[in-house]
C-alpha cells in the first residue's frame, strides 16, 4: 500500500493512466487533450506516453466527440471523452441524451455503451460565462446514464477507473474548484464502490449533504458549527445517479435534520429530488423540513458576483440555524 499526496487533477490523470495501461481498448478523446494536456492539464503527459491513437485530439465539435465515441463503443472501444467546460456540453446534449443513454435499451441488451464523459464543472474559479456552470441535473434526469462526481483526490483516482470499467455510460463531473488542493491518494484500494455515498464527518444533530465542490465547504461549515456547539454529520453523495440513499437515510434518522448544499440552481435539482425522497422515507424522523442551500435560479452571474451567487459556509450555517430552530 502506498499513499501519496496529490491534487485532484493529478489524481484523475493517474487514474486515467492506470486505465490506459490496464485495457488497450480505452481511448481518450477531446479538444486540446494531446500535447497541451487539456486546459486543466488532466491529461498531461498521456499522449506522449500512449500515442495519438490512444489519446486523440479531436476537431472542435462536442456532438461529434460524443457521437463518434458511441461508434467507437459499438466497435468495442471504451472511450473517455473530455468536454472542455461545463457550459460546452450542450452541443453534445442530443447525442448524450437521445443516443448514448438509450442505445443499450434500444438494442435490448445486445449492446453495451461503456463511454465516460468527463466534465469539469462548477464555479469559484472566477471564469467567464459558460465556464462555471453545474449542469448535472439534466444528466441525472436522463434514464440510461450514470452520473458521478468525486470530491477528493482519492476518489478522483479511483472513481475515474471505476467509471471506465462500467459497461454503462457515465457522466463524470470534475469539480474545477477542487482540481488543485492536494489530498492523500491510497492507490492500493478504493474503499467503496463507484455509486456508494459516504459519511465524510460524523455528527449527531444535523446532516449536511453535498457532492463534488460542496463537500469541502460542508466540512468547513461543520467545523464552525462544532465550535458553536452544533454537531453536524457530513455526507458526500459521490453518485448522483443512482443515488445511494442508505447512508443518507441512516444519517437523517439519527440527526432528524437535513441541509442539502449544491452550486446548481435549486429548482428541479438534485437537492429537490433528495428532499422529496428523504421526506418520504424519513417522515417520522424529521425534526425540521429538509432545507436546500443552492445557487439562485438565474444564469451564473459575472464572476465578480459569484461569491454572492454560490453557497458558502455562512449560507450553510444559516440553514443549519433554521433547521435547529424547529
Amino acid at each position: 500500500m502506498s499513499t501519496q499526496s496529490m491534487s485532484l487533477a493529478r489524481a484523475i490523470n493517474a487514474g486515467l493512466r492506470e486505465a490506459l495501461l490496464a485495457d488497450a481498448k480505452v481511448v481518450l478523446m477531446g479538444e486540446d487533450i494531446g500535447p497541451l494536456g487539456g486546459v486543466f492539464r488532466v491529461t498531461e503527459g498521456l499522449q506522449a506516453e500512449f500515442g495519438d491513437t490512444r489519446v486523440i485530439d479531436t476537431p472542435l465539435a462536442e456532438s461529434a466527440i460524443v457521437g463518434t465515441a458511441i461508434g467507437l463503443a459499438m466497435r468495442g472501444y471504451r472511450p473517455v471523452c473530455e468536454i472542455q467546460f461545463d457550459g460546452f456540453i450542450f452541443p453534445g446534449f442530443d447525442q448524450i441524451t437521445s443516443q448514448l443513454a438509450k442505445l443499450t435499451s434500444r438494442h435490448e441488451g445486445s449492446l453495451t455503451m461503456p463511454v465516460v464523459i468527463r466534465v469539469p464543472y462548477g464555479g469559484h474559479i472566477g471564469a467567464i460565462e459558460h465556464h462555471q456552470e453545474s449542469p448535472e441535473a439534466y444528466f441525472a434526469h436522463t434514464p440510461g446514464l450514470r452520473v458521478v462526481t468525486p470530491s477528493t483526490p482519492h476518489d478522483g483516482y479511483w472513481m475515474i477507473q471505476e467509471a471506465i470499467a462500467s459497461n454503462d455510460p457515465v457522466i463524470f463531473f470534475e469539480p474545477k474548484s477542487r482540481y488543485w488542493p492536494k489530498g492523500d491518494v491510497d492507490d492500493a484500494a478504493s474503499g467503496i464502490p463507484l455509486h456508494a455515498s459516504r459519511v465524510a464527518r460524523e455528527g449527531s444533530e444535523v446532516t449536511l449533504l453535498g457532492y463534488g465542490p460542496m463537500v469541502s465547504l460542508l466540512l468547513a461549515a461543520a467545523e464552525i458549527a462544532a465550535a458553536e456547539g452544533t454537531s453536524a454529520e457530513v455526507i458526500d453523495l459521490r453518485s448522483l445517479s443512482p443515488i445511494d440513499y442508505a447512508p443518507v437515510i441512516a444519517s437523517v434518522q439519527k440527526t432528524g435534520r437535513l441541509v442539502i448544499g449544491q452550486e446548481a440552481p435549486g429548482f428541479v435539482s438534485i437537492a429537490s429530488e433528495i428532499a422529496a425522497t428523504v421526506t418520504e422515507r424519513c417522515f417520522y424522523s424529521l425534526e425540521a423540513p429538509v432545507l436546500r442551500v443552492t445557487g439562485f435560479d438565474t444564469p451564473f452571474p459575472p464572476a465578480k458576483l459569484e461569491g454572492l451567487y454560490l453557497p458558502d459556509a455562512d449560507r450553510v450555517l444559516e440553514a443549519v440555524d433554521r433547521a435547529m430552530a424547529y
Binding site: 457521437g67 463518434t68 461508434g71 443516443q99 435499451s105 435490448e108
Partner: protein, 372 residues
C-alpha cells in the same frame, strides 16, 4: 431536370445501357455481375415494393401506428446494399427497409417497431452488421464515423485484401444534410481519413420541405468543402447505384479516405402515413420520377437481355407471398410485457430499475388479488 452532367448513370430511364465519360469508369463493375445477381437485384426491388404496400395497408387498417414508405427508392437501396461486402457495417437512417432485408433483417422487425412493440431491438452482429434505425435526423452519421475510426484503430483496413478490409456505409437524406451532426461527421471522417462512405439519398423532400430549401448547391458538391470527393449518381438506376457504391466502399477500405455519394431519387409516396403530400407538392414532379421508375427501368433492361415473362410472373407471386407472410407475422406479434420497460435500460444492476419494476409488479398483482 434534376440530373446534371456529373450524374453517373449506367441505365437510361428506358432501360438502355448508357455509355459516356462520366459513367465509363464504373461500367466494369456491371460486367462482373452474374445473371443471378441481376435477377436478385430485381427480386429485392419488386418484393420490397410489394412489402411496402402491405405495410402501408396494415397501417391503414389500424395494425401499425405509422408506416414509412420507401417506394421509389428501391434502386438506390438495392444497388448500395448489395455493393457492401459481408464484413462492412451499415448505419441506416429509418427508410432503408430494402437494405435491411438484403443484410438479413426480417422487415417484420421494422413493422414491430412501428407497431409499438420495440425501438428496433435486432442485434446488428447477427443481422449482417445492419445497425438499428436512428430517428433523430443525422445522428447516425456520427456513430458510423466513430465506428469507422474504430476500424482504423484496429488496422482492419488498407491491407490490400478487399474481402477482409472493412468499411462503413452510412445512409442519410437531403433533410439530414442540413443537420450539424452530418457536417461534424464529415469533418471527423475527413480529418481522420476513416474508411467510410456517406450515402445521401436525395429523395427531394424532407416531409414537406423541398431540397431547394436545404441547399442552394447540388448536395454532392458539399463534399469538396470537407476535403472529399463527391459523386452524384442516378439513384433510380440500380446498376449505377451498385457500381458507384462498390467503387467508393473499396476506395474507402483501401485507406484512400472517406467517400461521398449523392443518389438522386424520389420519395414517390408520403414521408410517412401521417403525411399528405398533396398539400405541398405538385404531381407533375412526381410524374417525372414515376416515368424513370427504378423497377420499370430494370425490368426493361432485363427483358432486353432476354429475361422472359415467366421470371416476372414468378417474382410477382413471390412478392405476394412475402406480403402475405408479413401480414400474418404482424398479426401474430406478441405485445411486450412490463419487464421491457425496465430491462436493459442499464447493462449493470441499478437500484431504481429494481425498485420501480418491483413496485409495478406488486401494483399490477394488486388487481389480480382484488379479483381473486
Amino acid at each position: 431536370m434534376p440530373y446534371t452532367a456529373a450524374t453517373v448513370q449506367l441505365l437510361s430511364p428506358e432501360g438502355a445501357i448508357v455509355v459516356n465519360d462520366v459513367s465509363a469508369p464504373y461500367a466494369h463493375y456491371i460486367d462482373d455481375l452474374s445473371e443471378q445477381q441481376l435477377r436478385e437485384f430485381h427480386r429485392q426491388m419488386v418484393v420490397m415494393r410489394r412489402f411496402d404496400t402491405e405495410a402501408a395497408n396494415l397501417q391503414r387498417q389500424g395494425q401499425l401506428a405509422l408506416w414509412i414508405p420507401s417506394i421509389g427508392q428501391e434502386a438506390a437501396q438495392v444497388g448500395s446494399g448489395y455493393a457492401a461486402r459481408p464484413q462492412d457495417h451499415i448505419f441506416p437512417a429509418y427508410r432503408e427497409h430494402v437494405v435491411a432485408r438484403i443484410r438479413g433483417v426480417d422487415p417484420v422487425s421494422i413493422i414491430a417497431m412501428l407497431r409499438g412493440i420495440s425501438h428496433g431491438g435486432w442485434n446488428p452482429a447477427e443481422h449482417g452488421n445492419f445497425h438499428l434505425y436512428t430517428l433523430v435526423i443525422g445522428s447516425q452519421t456520427l456513430h458510423a464515423t466513430g465506428y469507422a475510426m474504430g476500424i482504423q484503430l484496429d488496422g482492419n483496413m488498407a491491407t490490400g485484401n478487399p474481402d477482409a478490409d472493412e468499411a462503413v456505409l452510412v445512409y442519410f437524406g437531403d433533410g439530414a444534410s442540413s443537420q450539424g451532426d452530418v457536417s461534424e461527421a464529415l469533418v471527423f471522417a475527413s480529418s481522420y481519413q476513416t474508411p467510410q462512405v456517406f450515402f445521401l439519398q436525395n429523395n427531394h423532400w424532407a416531409i414537406s420541405v423541398p431540397v431547394s430549401r436545404q441547399s442552394r448547391t447540388p448536395l454532392y458538391r458539399r463534399a469538396a468543402g470537407f476535403g472529399m470527393d463527391g459523386i452524384q449518381v442516378d439513384g433510380n438506376d440500380v446498376l449505377a447505384s451498385y457500381a458507384v457504391t462498390r467503387a467508393s466502399l473499396d476506395t474507402a477500405r483501401a485507406g484512400e479516405g472517406p467517400q461521398f455519394i449523392e443518389a438522386l431519387t424520389y420519395r414517390i409516396g408520403a414521408h410517412t402515413t401521417s403525411d399528405d403530400p398533396t398539400k405541398y407538392r405538385d404531381s407533375a414532379e412526381a410524374d417525372f420520377w414515376i416515368a424513370g421508375d427504378p423497377i420499370k427501368r430494370f425490368e426493361a433492361y432485363l427483358r432486353s437481355r432476354g429475361e422472359g415473362d415467366a421470371f416476372f410472373a414468378e417474382l410477382a407471386e413471390e412478392a405476394d407471398d412475402v406480403a402475405a407472410d408479413a401480414r400474418r407475422k404482424t398479426l401474430e406479434l406478441v405485445n411486450p410485457t412490463a419487464a421491457k420497460i425496465f430491462e436493459h435500460v442499464y447493462s449493470e444492476p441499478h437500484p431504481l430499475m429494481d425498485e420501480q419494476h418491483a413496485w409495478l409488479r406488486d401494483y399490477e398483482a394488486g388487481f389480480e388479488r382484488d379479483r381473486a
